[in-house]
Amino acid sequence: MTATTANRRRWDPIVRITHWSVAIAVLANAVITEEGSGPHIWVGYALAAILALRLLWGLVGPPEARFSAFWPSPRKALGHLREIRAGKRTAHASHNPLGALMVYAIWGTLLTIIATGIAMAGPPPWDGAERGEGRHVAVAPGHAGERGEDGGEREDGEEGEEGEEGPLGEIHETAANLLYLLILLHLAGVIFETRRNGRQVLVAMAPIGR
């Protein structure tokens, strides 16, 4: 009996690997790599591959990792909120209903970031060559003025490079900022659940250890 419950309590390796890989990739592209640079695009493609693996896992993985186990449902999310307010605790085999909404929000944002990123960077080689392409897109008439202004307003310290990429760049950056907000909310949710239900939430996603 203990073995069964112990198995249930942890996410499977694919879920854990993809979760932490995505976290590392987002952190790398947010903090380390230069926006629009070769490494930035490489990391972005890697993130796309890992996210694709997780989405595949949502189709073929074990029951609790599948989309069917945590279909987004506002009704259930509201029910979950009521339970929190009432101080009740229900065990969830998969993500809890609020967490499920967060999962889809983050995935949707990541997909937006990936799609706009690929649309801007195109296929490799990306070292230097993609700059030319980027410029090419940027020169396209119609958006030059507003782009320049927006870029100047938002990115003071940067070269304003991403501001030159047009609406795609705008979406890319807005989605990235939205992603940071969602990650903060996700962390807040994890902290909240940890205080409410104990360390189990952390153990379930811990990259290593028993």
Binding site: N7, D12, I14, I17, T18, W42, I50, L53, V60, P123
Partner: protein
């Protein structure tokens, strides 16, 4: 958690890492392929590259399915062990009650079932070896057997006879 379960979990984790790396490589190959096709057009060389990339994609899917199989096996295994443990514990309780063992005798008999010899049982229970030997003799007499292996065989035989769950 048993060693076997841990081994299996490690195996699943190892294959998962491999699958993730394959997914990464596959994405790079596919992106590279698209880039080359845009620059050079589609040729024999790129056709071979495309096949390699597709094969890798298939490997990713198959790897994921393999991990799924390992996880499912591990869970079935854990469930089967749990059921068997429950059934065996219940069977032992029933037989001990049937043989009307005293609490001390039941305790000694359980250690005997787990494979402990008289010296070990005496040490575990903090009693003299002679006492344990006498208690075991009474257990064997009540159960109608004459040795420790006979005691173990009584339960094993019944478990083997159980239909596969």
């Amino acid at each position: 958690m048993t060693d076997r379960a841990r081994t299996r979990e490690r195996k699943a984790a190892g294959i998962s890492i491999l699958v993730a790396l394959q997914a990464l490589a596959c994405a790079f190959f596919l992106a590279d392929l698209v880039g080359d096709v845009l620059v050079d057009g589609f040729g024999l060389h790129l056709a071979v590259e495309a096949m390699a990339a597709l094969a890798l994609l298939v490997a990713v899917v198959l790897g994921a399915l393999r991990v799924r199989g390992l996880i499912a096996d591990a869970r079935r295994d854990a469930a089967a062990v749990a059921v068997a443990q429950g059934a065996l514990a219940e069977l032992i309780r029933l037989r001990f009650a049937e043989w009307q063992l005293t609490a001390a005798e039941a305790d000694v008999a359980l250690f005997a079932l787990k494979g402990c010899d008289i010296a070990e049982i005496a040490r575990l229970r903090g009693s003299a070896a002679g006492t344990v030997r006498a208690q075991l003799a009474r257990v064997y007499a009540k159960a109608g057997i004459d040795s420790q292996s006979g005691l173990i065989a009584l339960f094993l035989e019944e478990l083997i006879g159980l239909p596969a769950a």
